[in-house]
């Protein structure tokens, strides 16, 4: 096992981690602020990939503008879903179960809407101009597009950190993740905040989808794979913990990248293995924001 | 005579805030006593420590000579401490009868029977009816518990506790939210239950008619510490208690 192999896999893992983090951070944000588990979060990711395809491959929009527009469109879609449907079941008895059912319905509906609009066949997206090649480093080649994704991920992390620690909405979101009742005391319009958070979180997921589209093929039904990976990330990091999601994504991204290189067929087993170990020793996650209520 | 319950220098702090500090007292068997004090004095916290819902930072809680600190609620209730909660803790969708019956079944060790219908468990059912009868709820035994009036839900909560045949019963504000008439009835009922079930009873209460009407011993908590302890007459005459809690015109 030589250094160039390690570096190649490390970069590949970092790329996956970045994409995972963009999705999982939204998932954890929604849960932290609104106590909603958005089972359909992966579907918003998929929707982002399709919007990216539509803008770039069909309407020939500039990639960067397309990326932004995909995020915005998916975010609007997410806000609509929260505003029109999810909001109606808050506070109902057995709410957790109904949330899952409702967001499960979202998955089914989004899947078919995507099929209706774009057809069932695979779609692909070209890499943006200037990022088609690779950088040579000794005897290995690192695709510049992967480096781009990692860079964008870092920008988002720094931006998110700034928003969370330096702005009032960010402080509200952090307060809510620790104690939800505090938020209403602060005089915040809770329903509006929730819709907004839902929009931001789904926009992040949508952007991740569009970013990932040139690397992976775009297919209906991709949502469920993504949600399970993000779920593992969130379980590792602790539900509702933003930085936990970042660490979890990094861990799962790297574990996956190396497992794929060594035992390609059984790679997915390894992320589960990591999760099982964490569940046994620290069921509330590595960085739990809040102690998990024992049921 | 060994005390039924003995608290020895019990402490609890949340963050930097001391909610109970250095509380010590002994409850004698067969005694009926009240804990009073302003809101936030640490009364409910003290109950939570006794029943294992909260861990003590320091100190010991002895029940019939055995230290309870560190034991989970499940084991503490099995030793004979029953509790009714400030907000009635019941099973809202079950019938009134089943609310009590599940507790009777639990006490009789019959919760792991998988086959026979609950109604076929004669002993648990009879005991449940007897308890409902003593609470005056037997006429509503087939209604789902959530349909009961607020006051009746609180009684049902007490009934669940009674079904476990406790030696020591803790009641957290049994008359809270009741009308004056209901308070009067509940006061008589609790006194009745104390006698007929042969209980040691400790209750938290803001209703002074109840406190000075039926308690043999009154303990006053203020800012987490025990301010005074004595018979109702002594407490009524205590200068500190008057300035801190009861007020001059009492």
């Amino acid at each position: 096992m030589d250094a160039s192999f390690l570096l190649t896999q490390f970069i590949s893992g970092l790329t996956m981690a970045t994409l995972l983090f963009l999705v999982a951070s939204g998932l954890t944000l929604i849960f932290g602020v609104g106590n909603v588990f958005n089972f359909a979060h992966g579907s918003f990711y998929m929707l982002g990939a399709y919007f990216g395809y539509q803008f770039v491959s069909v309407w020939s929009t500039n990639f960067w503008i397309a990326l932004l527009l995909s995020g915005v469109c998916v975010g609007l879609f997410g806000m609509l879903a929260e505003f029109a449907f999810l909001r109606r079941i808050y506070g109902r008895a057995n709410e957790g179960g109904f949330q899952i059912l409702l967001t499960y319905a979202f998955i089914l509906i989004i899947d078919d809407l995507v099929k209706l609009t774009w057809g069932a066949e695979y779609k692909s997206l070209p890499r943006p101009a200037g990022f088609g090649g690779a950088i040579q480093l000794g005897d290995i080649f690192i695709p510049t597009y992967n480096l781009l994704i990692i860079a964008i991920g870092m920008i988002v992390v720094v931006a998110a950190w700034w928003v969370l620690s330096h702005t009032r909405p960010g402080q509200v979101a952090r307060a809510a993740a620790v104690d939800r009742e505090i938020v209403s005391v602060l005089g915040v319009n809770v329903p509006m905040t929730m819709t907004l958070v839902f929009g931001i979180a789904t926009a992040l997921g949508g952007m991740a989808g569009a970013l990932a589209a040139p690397l992976r093929t775009v297919t209906p039904g991709a949502g469920i794979e993504v949600i399970i990976d993000s779920l593992i990330v969130v379980v590792l990091g602790g539900m509702g913990n933003f930085w936990g999601a970042w660490f979890g994504a990094l861990l799962i991204g790297e574990v996956n990248a190396f497992a794929v290189a060594v035992v390609p067929q059984w790679a997915t087993l390894f992320s589960f293995l990591v999760m099982v170990v964490v569940l046994i020793f620290k069921p509330e996650g590595l960085f739990a924001a809040r102690k998990v209520r024992k049921v | 005579m060994t005390p039924m319950l003995q608290l020895d220098a019990v402490d609890k702090a949340f963050g930097g805030l001391r909610v109970t500090s250095n509380v010590s007292f002994s409850v004698m068997p067969g005694e009926i006593s009240a804990i009073i004090g302003p809101n936030g004095a640490g009364k409910t916290t003290l109950f939570n420590q006794i029943t294992g819902h909260l861990l003590c930072d320091r100190g010991a809680i002895l029940f019939q000579g055995e230290n309870l600190v560190g034991k989970p609620p499940r084991q503490i209730v099995a030793r004979g401490i029953g509790r009714a909660f400030q907000i009635a803790s019941i099973f809202p969708d079950e019938t009134v009868l089943d609310n009590i019956r599940v507790a009777c079944l639990s006490k009789l060790g019959e919760t792991r029977k998988y086959w026979r219908h609950v109604a076929d468990f004669k002993r648990a059912t009879d005991e449940a009816h007897a308890i409902l009868d003593s609470l005056g709820l037997d006429g509503q035994s087939e209604r789902p518990a959530f349909e009961l009036a607020h006051g009746d839900q609180k009684l049902l909560d007490i009934g669940i506790a009674l079904a476990l045949k406790p030696k020591l019963l803790l009641l957290d504000e049994p008359t809270a939210g009741m009308s004056p008439d209901e308070r009067q009835q509940t006061r008589e009922l609790i006194k009745q239950l104390w006698k007929s079930y042969d209980l040691t009873l400790v209750f938290i209460e803001h209703d002074m008619d109840m406190v000075f009407g039926i308690a043999q011993v009154v303990r006053v908590l203020q800012q987490g510490a025990l301010l005074a302890e004595g018979t109702p007459e002594e407490i009524r005459a205590n200068k500190q208690v008057i300035t801190a809690y009861l007020g001059e015109d009492f």
Binding site: Q99, A105, F106, I109 | T111
Partner: protein, 320 residues
């Protein structure tokens, strides 16, 4: 208020009526297709009722019961395929035991964390099971599934197998019903409504959750093992998350707070599937919209809403 005896009589006659209808299906049917359809209804009903012991009764929403359903099916499929037809019935028993063992193991892991975690972890582990089945081509046949699973002896006849399914399903549902109304079932309902109070009755909440998880899972496996012989073939889809989703849909459509709700839900869904031309291209859109309407408008399900309508009617009647 009806007394206990009449209530028992009513329940028993309803029970007898349902069984009678299913007994008559092969006699009255005009094609073997209808018998096959009735078989599907029965097996899915068992699956849904056992799932509802978890969710409706105990409040544990598992999104991974397909794991046990598939395990039951694959233990029959694999053993018949590798060892021969005479292993059919032992394989059913073995599948059920394996499911119980697996449920115990996984349950210890996933019940430690409650609520939404439980749901998501059951989903994650079920998908893991699906992936293993899908990728382990040499052993499971992967995407090809397993074909030609023919029950042994007289069970080979479609009609006989139907009565076999009917007997096993009705017996199992009866056992589950007894359980639901036993002291154990009462404790489970209490666990759902007020777990803290259950602890303060001196009962262990998680222990009881683990028990019902194992029980529900082994009956799901039994349903799966019965399914293996119905069409003679099994497929990895039986383990896919949509199978878990479908069983949830059946329960919520029928009504999760009534014991027979999931039974009704399963029947309705199977019949709708059949009418809409089983899985048209946009089947999941239809299902999605149905779920949305139920969740937003009729959260009590078919049976639950019917009961409410009935009680409203009798109340206004009594008021006159």
């Amino acid at each position: 208020m009806t007394n206990l005896a009449t209530r028992n009589l009513k329940a028993a006659s309803l029970w007898a009526f349902i069984v009678l209808i299913f007994v008559l299906v092969p006699v009255l049917s005009t094609s073997s297709y209808q018998v096959n359809l009735a078989c599907h209804v029965l097996i899915w009903s068992l699956f849904a009722v056992s799932f509802n012991m978890l969710w409706g009764v105990t409040g544990m929403l598992s999104l991974g019961q397909a794991l046990y359903y598939g395990l039951g099916a694959y233990s029959v499929g694999l053993m018949v395929d590798h060892l021969g037809r005479q292993w059919y019935l032992p394989a059913m028993g073995l599948g059920v035991l394996a499911a119980a063992a697996l449920a115990l193991l996984l349950g210890l892991l996933v019940i430690r964390v409650g609520g939404v975690y439980f749901t998501m972890l059951t989903l994650a582990f079920a998908q893991l099971g699906w992936q293993i089945t899908f990728k382990w081509y040499d052993f499971t046949g992967g995407d090809d599934g397993i074909q030609g699973i023919i029950p042994p002896g007289i069970l080979e006849s479609g009609t006989v197998y139907y009565y076999f399914v009917l007997a096993v399903v009705m017996l199992s549902i009866w056992v589950l019903k007894r359980m639901a109304f036993s002291p154990f079932g009462l404790v489970l309902r209490c666990v759902q409504q007020n777990p803290d109070r259950v602890r303060f009755l001196g009962r262990r909440v998680r222990r009881n959750q683990l028990r019902v998880y194992v029980i529900s899972s082994l009956f799901s496996a039994l349903a799966g093992s019965l399914m293996a012989g119905v069409d003679g073939s099994i497929h990895t889809d039986m383990l896919f998350w949509t199978t878990s989703g479908e069983v949830i849909l059946m329960s919520v459509l029928g009504g999760i707070n009534q014991f027979f709700g999931p039974f009704v839900g399963a029947t309705v869904i199977i019949l709708i599937e059949d009418l809409v031309g089983a899985r048209t291209e946009y089947w999941s859109l239809i299902i999605g919209i149905i779920i949305m309407v139920i969740v937003l408008v009729f959260p009590k399900g078919v049976v639950g809403e019917a009961m409410r309508a009935k009680s409203l009617l009798t109340r206004t009647g009594a008021g006159r």
